[in-house]
Amino acid sequence: MKVSRRDLLVWSAGAAAGLMVTPVPWRVLDDVSIWSQNWPWIPQPARGPVDVKQSACTLCPKGCGLRVRVAGGFLVGVAGVASHPVTRGALCPLAFGAHQLNWHPQRLRTVLHRRSVSTWNAAQMAFTKACSEGPVVVIDGYPGRAASQVLESFAKNRRGEYRVVLSAETRALAPYERWTGVPAALLGYDVENAGTIVSFGAPLLDGWGAPGHFTRLWADRAAGMNDPQLRLIQVEPTLSRTASRAWQWVPVRNGSEAVLAAGIAGVLLEEHLVSARGPKPTLSLTAAGEQTGLGIDAIRGLARTIVARPPVVAIANDDSPEVAALNVVLGAVGARGGIVRRSRENKSYLAADTPISSARAVVIDSSVPWDFAPKTDAEVFRFAAWDGGSGSADWLLPAPGFLEEATDVPAAPELAVQSFALAPALTKAQHEVRSAALFLSGIDSALPTAEEIIHARCQQIFQSRVGMLCSREQTPVSRFAASQKLEEQLWAGAVWVGEPVGPPNLRCELKEWPTPSTSTRGEGWSSSWTAPVLPPLASKLVEESGLRQRAEGRLA
């Protein structure tokens, strides 16, 4: 039998008809539709249990409480802790994307020596050699931690120097340090008890202090109210976020904030609106009115408004002594609702930006902002979790990233009382990392470890019998029977809050109005962010919306 082309066609028709009554086309359609919705290149989340753990954010010195979802040992979600006594469940916009930071393409994964790959051994040898040849300067961006104590002890043991980078909120308190003798790092702002706050450009609602701290206070006492309990007066040349929500916006000319402070102080003293008798500003009210662009009447009106709801405090965005002098006139220094001392200790810090006279090596902790570059010829050993590019460090050493290392959490810089919390590590780095403190402990075995120091601090708190331990309830420390229980609760996310330092809180001596000076301008919270990269999801705020601008790798 010859098979013809027609046969083939007829056979095919039969096969096609037959196929229709088999499962083949229907199954293939069904299975292909499933296959086409499961492309292998589309990443899938992990399967398995998700645990919720508590820790604290260490990407800036505010130490906000975190509730983190962990799946398979990796971070899958971040939220605030509603019962946290300071942050009240709030976080900055960047923290919500921080769990992705550990995978950022710019994550530093190997030791780099002058930008070429090296090893931890080589770094250790180079550092040991450097230590034997001259003094070492250690720079810390997050002072007050147990790790900070390790860094400081190392520097002291080697007759080197320990310096710190202070946050903007603390730097603004520098003038008071000169007039009260109390170090700025031990001062705080008692905003909880203030009735009127005059902010000279400080971004109180946009990253000043720990995110939940002032914003919650303001939201509960002032937002949307015609006659709020807390009056926020924002002095600023442009309508910032804080200015747009403030009770009153005072639009001064750019750079004339200090002049306004002087003008207000003058009116307060002249019209006897305050009990203080001095110091009197040297600038005349007319000049103040002119330079600020507000006019004399406006300044008079403002001064009267300010004292209408005491206690009053002025908050500056920089270390401008004029605003600080205004606080002296207002009687806000050492008073309830003003600038207060939060600890009876006497610990002063050497600022990191003072010129380094002589050093053989400089160690920079990973908590120091990337754009901080010490002006020195010394060999720089910089610890960092993310590589910000360029930079002047000789050695770049991979440090633990977000929640990869247990640490303690000292009080946020603006708090009026002491606080203490613990932040356990919730994930592991995928490559070898060492913090500066661990590295130095390896060089000098006589140093205590951070764990030992943390343990000792918990015991100290227990023995002091002072303060409250805050988690879902608030328990006075005096009610704890054993230090171990206290420490356990701290590791589980409780926060210790100290008591206010009673009177006399501060003694302030200021005879003359300070001369105008060029002050270092603070940049608010975006300058507190220490990582040189932003979380990837920050693109939502900048590129994908017009909400914020990206300014030199930071967020504005």
Partner: protein, 194 residues
């Protein structure tokens, strides 16, 4: 004409053969489980008669699914029996600290959300209603994977035609929908999808 009919018929027959006999076999590929786990042994000898002993609900309500290695290590940290299966478990997985790479029969695509809590506690279903009496089985069930979709044969069900299907044979979306419709439990798309 007759020849055409014959040829046509031949085509139909070949297609039917290919479709009903060859295709179901070729579509699936057998994949062995890492070891021969016997439910019956565990139920009878180890007092683990209840499914929840190993397949439990966690505190937050989520389902543990296949027990983690931790659970097995509770008894099998060291060898307690003589079988080859146990040797594999202890030597290759528990001692190495790896989770046993089970092939999951009921594995659904990642966008599916199925809550065991809701079905067990609110709907009052029993394990056997969807998983047959697997807990009493003597042997580990053969795992066959669909070569096209990548999912287990148990999702479509064993019968290629889906006629005369047992209630627990098949876990396609239409099977879920049938039961939901029967019990008047309309939850909407996002009720079951992530």
């Amino acid at each position: 004409m007759r020849r055409s009919l014959l040829v046509f018929g031949l085509g139909v027959m070949v297609a039917m053969l290919a479709g009903w006999v060859v295709f179901p076999r070729a579509l699936y590929m057998r994949k062995p489980q890492p070891l021969e786990f016997r439910h019956k042994t565990h139920a009878e000898k180890s007092g683990l008669a209840d499914c929840n002993e190993c397949h439990a609900l966690r505190d937050d309500g989520t389902f543990a699914g296949l027990p983690a290695m931790e659970k097995c290590a509770g008894c099998h940290a060291e060898r307690i029996g003589e079988t080859k299966a146990e040797a594999t478990l202890v030597n290759n997985y528990i001692k190495q600290g790896h989770e046993t790479p089970w092939q999951v029969y009921a594995q659904q695509p990642p966008n599916v959300w199925f809550s065991h809590s809701i079905h067990l506690k609110r709907a009052g279903l029993k394990c056997e209603d969807c998983h047959a009496n697997y807990g009493a089985s003597d042997q580990v069930k053969v795992y066959e994977v669909n070569r096209i979709s990548g999912y287990s044969r148990d999702i479509w069900g064993h019968s290629i035609s889906r006629l005369h299907r047992a209630p627990h044979d098949g876990m396609k979306m239409s099977d879920c929908e049938d039961c939901h419709r029967q019990h008047n439990a309309d939850v909407g798309c996002l009720g079951c999808h992530k």
